[in-house]
């Protein structure tokens, strides 16, 4: 490729995030000065996102090294950037139909959402650990504030639990990076890869990994998840489950792939196994839909960690898993949003008789639940299949057996949701509100979950192509 094409590609690739920064400040500041724009922040945000998505082109097969290796633009980063902007667009649509923030903090709401997305984009493109840490903070700090943006009791409690444990995780990460910085001054993932790891370095790696495990919500670093997902506005919970988790997963994979074996991989083995077992067992007794989805999100982090053991093929599976999981979970949170009467979201019993009162909503919810449970021919089945197949091929059969057994256990609580919707009679006084844009999101996600399963080839090809570049 000629230098001119590369320059124009870099300019085009970076215009997306730069436009998001501009849009974020526009949402925050413009309505303060121009009265007519008050209340239109959501539309500004959506418009900017559509333009930013248009900037995404098929990335050429090369690794573009920017800012002395701090950012690496590859087809992998392009894939994940598209994923992040897509997830953000859906969350913006949800917030347009049912505002998550009070009237006077609409601007801050979209500003924080955009900043978190830019943090995600920097995180997945980061070429060294310190950049990854700064990006992680840029991703997390806005989300702490977003969780409590309503300043109501549940929201603030969610926000404080998320903040305290998230910041504790960041503290562990940065200490680990400080230790690694002493041993490997380069700190880039490429330099860390071939390095021999003395005991002190392994301590550093474990600190970094536990910090990112907080973000990804692997057991035992998951304590904040149920409370944060339940108390945060449902739109923000959807964003946390889809985007924040994916960012942690990508960095964990980078750290995982530095090692061929040894104690660090054993730690990953235990994290994956304990996460799959604990999260699924804890989910069984939940009665609140948002808490159920929170535990389900922890469990899926465990399955993704199992997929790590498949090596390079496993990472292709992870990249397929992330959008498939995001579609099902954003869809499920959108249903929760459509049915919620107070901030904590609907109880499972509130779904009773949904098949009678709103048959299409019930059908879509059933599709999300079956996809999360991994029922063919929905996308969730193929995601789990590829994830586990890679790990089996690498000889980690024991871990996969645990994951499959726990996946069978998870059928119980996913089916419970469906049973409540289809078997229980509806309470008499039902006044369904119109769905509006929430309905559009639910429709799109249901379509995505079905299409990505029946026609899994295109998405899978993209994911595998992207996985070669990390």
């Amino acid at each position: 490729m000629s230098p001119e094409t590369i320059t124009s590609y870099a300019a085009s690739a970076l215009s997306g995030p730069l436009l998001l920064v501009l849009a974020a400040f526009a949402c925050l500041l413009l309505p303060l000065f121009v009265k007519a724009l008050r209340g239109t922040q959501g539309l500004i945000a959506l418009g900017a996102l559509v333009v930013a998505l248009l900037f995404l082109r098929r990335a050429p097969s090369l690794e573009l090294n920017l800012f002395h290796g701090a950012l690496l633009l590859t087809p992998l980063s392009a894939y994940l950037w598209a994923f992040a902007m897509g997830a953000l667009a859906l969350v913006v649509l949800l917030s347009l139909s049912r505002p998550a923030a009070p009237e006077d903090s609409q601007g801050e709401y979209y500003f924080l959402l955009f900043m978190a997305t830019i943090g995600f984009m920097a995180l997945v493109a980061a070429g060294d650990l310190f950049t990854a840490f700064i990006a992680l903070e840029l991703l997390s700090l806005p989300v702490y504030a977003l969780a409590g943006i309503r300043r109501s009791k549940p929201g603030l409690e969610a926000s404080y639990k998320y903040f305290m444990l998230g910041a504790f995780g960041s503290g562990l990460t940065v200490m680990g990076i400080a230790i690694l910085n002493a041993l490997y001054p380069e700190l880039s993932f490429a330099a860390l890869k071939g390095a021999s790891a003395p005991a002190l370095a392994q301590a550093g790696f474990l600190l970094v990994i536990s910090g990112f495990a907080f973000k990804t919500a692997l057991v035992p670093f998951h304590m904040w998840v149920p409370d944060a997902y339940e108390g945060a506005p449902t739109q923000v919970s959807a964003f946390m489950a889809a985007a924040v988790k994916a960012g942690g997963v990508v960095v964990l994979w980078r750290l995982f792939s530095l090692f061929e074996g040894g104690p660090v991989l054993e730690v990953f083995w235990w994290l994956a196994a304990i996460t799959a077992v604990t999260a699924n067992l804890m989910a069984l007794g939940q009665t609140s839909l948002k808490r159920l989805l929170a535990y389900s999100s922890v469990a899926h982090a465990g399955y993704i960690a199992v997929a790590f053991f498949g090596g390079a093929r496993g990472f292709g599976a992870v990249l397929y898993y992330l959008p498939v999981y995001a579609m099902a979970t954003i869809g499920a949170f959108a249903v929760a949003l459509a049915l919620e009467k107070d901030e904590k979201g609907p109880k499972l019993d509130d779904l009773a008789g949904l098949s009678k009162t709103r048959p299409w909503l019930a059908a879509a919810m059933a599709a999300f639940m079956f996809s999360l449970a991994g029922v063919p021919p929905l996308a969730g089945f193929f995601a789990k299949f590829y994830a586990f197949a890679g790990a089996v091929n690498s000889g980690y059969t024991g871990l996969v057996v645990i994951a499959i057994i726990m996946s069978a256990v998870s059928m119980y609580y996913y089916l419970k949701v469906t049973v409540v919707m289809y078997m229980k009679p509806a309470p008499a006084d039902q006044h369904p509100e119109p769905l509006g844009l929430t309905g559009l999101v639910i429709f799109l996600m249901a379509l995505g979950v079905i299409l990505a399963g029946v026609l899994s080839r295109p998405l899978l090809t993209l994911a595998i192509e992207a996985s070669r570049w990390f």
Partner: protein, 96 residues
Amino acid sequence: MTAHTPAVISFVLFAIAAAGFLTCGSLVRMLMFLELMLNAANIAFVALGPAVKSQAYAVLLFAIAAAEAGVGLALIIALASAFKTLDAGGIKELKG
């Protein structure tokens, strides 16, 4: 004072901060311990790493610690007015 002293100080400070964070019940103290953790890491950066680059990292880390304190303090003020307490055990609106 040997070459190892700053490293030892940093590790000990970090251990104290992490233990303090996990055991104390007051939100303000938890926030202070968080800042202490970041400062311990900062000492480790400056004391152990290669000269100029690590010092630049330390400056960036100051900014991050400040941002974190900003979000944390804002949150604590909002919590204080909503719950009338800053005891971690007293904030129990959600299950679990």
